[in-house]
Structures are given as C-alpha cells and as structure tokens.
Symmetry: C2
Subunit: 344 residues, 2 copies
Amino acid sequence: MVSIDEVARLAGVSTATVSRALSGRGRVSDATRARVEAAADSLGYVVSAPASSLASGRTRNIGVLVPFLERWFFSTVLAGTSAELMRHGYDITLYSVTEDPELRRSVFDTLLRRQRVDGIIAVSIALGDAEIDRMLALDMPVIAIGGPDPRLRTLTVDDVAVARLATEHLLALGHRDIAHIGASPEFDLDFHIPTQRRQGFEQALERAGLEVRPALFEPADFTVEGGFRAAKQLLGRPGERPTAIFAASDEMAIGAILAARELGYRVPADVSIVGVDGHELGEFFRLTTVDQFPAAQGERAADAMLDALQGGTVERPVAPAVDRLPFELVVRGSTARPAADAAE
Amino acid sequence: MVSIDEVARLAGVSTATVSRALSGRGRVSDATRARVEAAADSLGYVVSAPASSLASGRTRNIGVLVPFLERWFFSTVLAGTSAELMRHGYDITLYSVTEDPELRRSVFDTLLRRQRVDGIIAVSIALGDAEIDRMLALDMPVIAIGGPDPRLRTLTVDDVAVARLATEHLLALGHRDIAHIGASPEFDLDFHIPTQRRQGFEQALERAGLEVRPALFEPADFTVEGGFRAAKQLLGRPGERPTAIFAASDEMAIGAILAARELGYRVPADVSIVGVDGHELGEFFRLTTVDQFPAAQGERAADAMLDALQGGTVERPVAPAVDRLPFELVVRGSTARPAADAAE
DNA sequence: ATGAAAGCGCTAACAC
DNA sequence: GTGTTAGCGCTTTCAT
C-alpha cells in the first residue's frame, strides 16, 4: 500500500501539504495541488480510511438502519440513500435491525459506537425510547424516515393526509361503501403508520358525512397474500359489499385486485381498489395509488444528512423537526365510478 | 468517548492487557479478563474501530457489491449475508455497482482501496476483467455469488442443471410443446446465467429426443411485466401453442400466469408454468419452481468469507474455485399433466 | 502557502 | 501472564 510519505516525496512537499491538497482543507497553491495530484495519481495513492478517521474524527461513512431488507419498500429507500451518498463520496454501513432483542442491543450498544460512522439514517424503524437515547448520546446527526419521533429529525409523509387523499378519490368518484384494509393490531403496536392511515380514511368518511362501519375494515399484514385474504373476506361476505377498497399498501392492494378477479368481480367495474406506496408493480396492475416516492425519500434523507454534516455543530445539532415529504395521487385503471345500481 | 486508558486504569492493568482481554488475542488470566470486562462494561467502553484497524490492519467489515438493490433477489441475498455477518460481529459496507462507468470506476479504484474492508462479496455482478484485476490486487478475499469467473472463488448454482430440472419436470408430466421465456440478448451480454438456463432447457429437450423450436422461445427482461408480455406472445400467437412454459425467473413466471389467466387459459389445466428462484410470491401464486434459496446463498457467501478470513494467508489465499449451491424443485399448483387432447 | 511535529486510540513485538 | 514501547498512516495545530 502506497502511503502519504511516498506521495510527499514524489511531489517534493511535506505530508501535511499532501493531506491538504488531497482533502481540500486548508489552502494550497494551485501549482502545488496539481503536483500533488499528479504524484498521487501516478502512484495510485488512496487515503487510508482508518488512519484518516483516527486523525480527523471523520469517517465519511453513514450508518443506515433498516428493518426488513428484503421488502420492496425498504430496499428501494435504501437504494435511493445509497446512490445519493455514494455520489458524495460517502460509504454506507448497513445495520439490519431485527426483532431479536439481542442483535438489536448490539447495534445500539456496540456497533454504532465504534466510531465507524459520522451519522445515522434510520429507515422506518420503530425505535424504543432507550434506543433513541443511545443514538442521541452518540452526538452525531440522526435522520429518521417515517415513524416521526419528536426527538429526532424526521422525514415523513403525512400518512393521515395520504389516506385521506386516497379515500377522497374514491368518494369523489361516487363511492359510498368503502372498505379499508389496514394493519392488524400487533403490527400497529410499534409502527404508527398503519394507524395514521386508518385515521385518514375515517376522517375522509366523516367529512363526507358517512359513518365508519366496522364491518368494512379488515386487517392484514402488508403483504400481497394478506391483502388477498382480506379482500376475499370483504367481497365474499354476504351482506354489505363494498364498491371500493382502500388498501394501506400497494402490495395489499395488488392482493385485493387478485382476490376480486378470482371472485369474478371486475376491477374497476365492480369494485375499485386504491393503494399507497408507488410500488414497481403498480403500473403493471394498472393500480391507482398514492405514490410516496420511496427512492426519493432515501435521497432526501441522504441530503439531509449531508447537510447536517456540513452545518451541524455542537451548538446547532440536527434540530428535531418533521419534514413533510411529497406524495401524489396516481390514477390508473383500478378505480372508476361505481356501477349505476350501486351508486347513490 | 471513553478510551482504553481509562479502562486500563480502572482495571489496574496496562492498555495492552485490556486489548488482549477484550479482543481475545493473546493469553490473559481469567481473573484479569473478568476485571477488564467489568471495567469496560461499567465505563461503557467500546473499541474505536479506526484506531483498532489502523493498528491491526483488520477492520471487521466486509464490502458487499450489489447490482440492483431494489430487486427482490438481490436484496434477499443481501439480507442473508448481512444477518450472518452481523452474527459474527462483522459490519457490512454496501457498494451498489451500477452501469454508470464513472461510479463503477470509483468503486474499484477508490472505495474498495481505502482499507475499509477485510474482504469483498460480489453478488451476481458481471465483473469486467479490469475490475477483477483490481480486486485481486487488493490482496484480500473475494467471494462471488453467481456468474462464475475462473479467477474468483465463486458460489453458484449450476444454472444449466437448474433449467434442465425445471424442463424435465414438464417433460415427465407428459408435455412435449414446451416454451421458454429467457433473457433478451442485451441482458445476456455480461450476465451469463440466462444463457445457461437456456442451454439447460435445450439439453433437456434434446435428451428427450425433442427438437428445439425457435418459435417457442421468447425473450424478456426478468420482470413480471416482461414475463407477462412474453407469455401473451407465446400463448396468443396462432399456430403452435405450447402446453407448458419454463420461465427463467419466478417473476417472469408470475407474469406468465397472469397472462395465461387473462387470455382465458387455466393454469395448470390448459398450460403449465414453472419458474426459477424461490420468490416470496411463489407460494401465493402456487407457482411450481426450482428454488435456489437466495437467502441461504447470502449466508453461505458470508460463511465462506469468514472462513477465508480465518485460514486465508498470503500463501494460501482464497482459491479460485466454484462451489455449487443447492437447488430444489418445489412442485406447487402451476404445473400438471397436459390436457388429454394435447398430450401425446 | 508550507513544514515540523505532536498526536488520534489502539495493537503487537518484545521483554520480563 | 503482563507491561513497555514503538508504531499504524494520517490530520492539525503552530511556526515560519
């Protein structure tokens, strides 16, 4: 491994100057910088990260906490974060935060404390109070995506508004019997998003002067299969059959479309279905959805982090605040006015 | 940040002993170790990664190269790797290797050379010769998953055999008119898996004494939508209609199922469909598939890496070899004997 | 604008 | 088994 001394020798300057020239900190004459860069290039010199980190306290590495890596939403957010951070010369160290309390503790008690990262991005993780304490004690920027916590700088869509928008779309089309596929109670415990979506749904109904009918709620687990099962229940039960379904995720909405088809209902002629997320399969299924641009969320979190790393000082740490992320109703082919005999 | 000196002082030993006690390298009496651990615990001491790396040359960090983070297969492999590595106290630094030649170069020329990782796991990436050279020059273990390269230690399923197995399953059921949805030519260029699957398909046909009919091959891009389109062509074209389809990925197979349904064909009564991968949605669609256990692949790569890090010396580096990964035919509901009038 | 030199916090010989 | 000490390869004052 070629070291800074060799570069210094070849360029005919001191190691201090090489460091300054290559890092861009402190002033160096253009001529010198050019010579140093040439020397570094010709030797194939790359700064040793551990040495640099030890000396400077900076790592150019961000820790990213993710719950389920294999779920489309999370990996998409991660892809956005990763691309943006890489573009700025930052590495990403991945910590998958599972349920396992043992592993979880190790993340917060050890891994994050090894001086390996300059900041932390927590993607849609329900953090315990103690966990937040630990992160705050690290004295480095922490950015959360989703699951707003008053003590953290959080980027999140307004889930109540998202759900209201989806529901209002159905109402505007003339639907009155609208069902909701949302979170099962367990899911809800530590993860607030499902509850908020349900609230938004109910708000929209109430504003339209409609009552919330418990029979038109069906819990599921945010998977295609869960949405499928829930929709089968909603559409198959004798009695009040909904003319529209609002599913709290695109994956569940896709499951609902499949369930409707299997029961012989046409989408959207017999039943309208709307989801939330902006899933890659949405287009294929012609799913109407409220897109929350997950890749962009990841990028924004990365930008917020880069920002915090620049301006953030001990005096002005990353302020705990909530940034609202954009979302947008994308009307495709899974929603339409209810059939004449069902409307009004 | 509490440092090793404070621990040493509190435990009444030298810093060297603290280091030995905590890292497990070199012998320390049980009594001393206990005292050191107690001291470290009570102070909340965690070894500084950069300092430790600088002094020891080890980082306890593995670089993982991934192509498309947001694709199910890759994120699943990554999840497997990540879990296994974390379990052994290793961190993961993620490098997403895209098409962009600029970013790609930076990964191989700079990022991987910063002394930040002890080894590299490359997940299903088509590596250029120059890129492999660069990695080999790093003088650290490199493990590749998929896309066997003779110069790298590679873990991969035998894709020819996988495809043969899927095809033979259809043949054994009595199908004679079997179509294949595989890679489009561009896709094939740097990524050899699709070609191999096609070869396996053709081998199976030939062994059964059947000829390979070009009309029964349809290229697609490994997505649900691509599989859907390809199957529509295959099933919709007048003339020879296949009674079975072998899709080179589960996502394409799912697309094919949906296409068949939309055309009014029943699966498997009118057309059998088999995929490859072991996709999470397979069960939901009752898809018969050849599972290649992607999460397990990730784990095995992690294990191979841990192994290499233990035994691997300069004399005996990770030998370039190909480890064959297990795969298994999982027969579910998307395949059956052809309808009587079509069989024989 | 540049150089000298003192660390950054740990590990690994080497000595005892 | 444990302590002493010399780095690991940088960055950053402090001089000049």
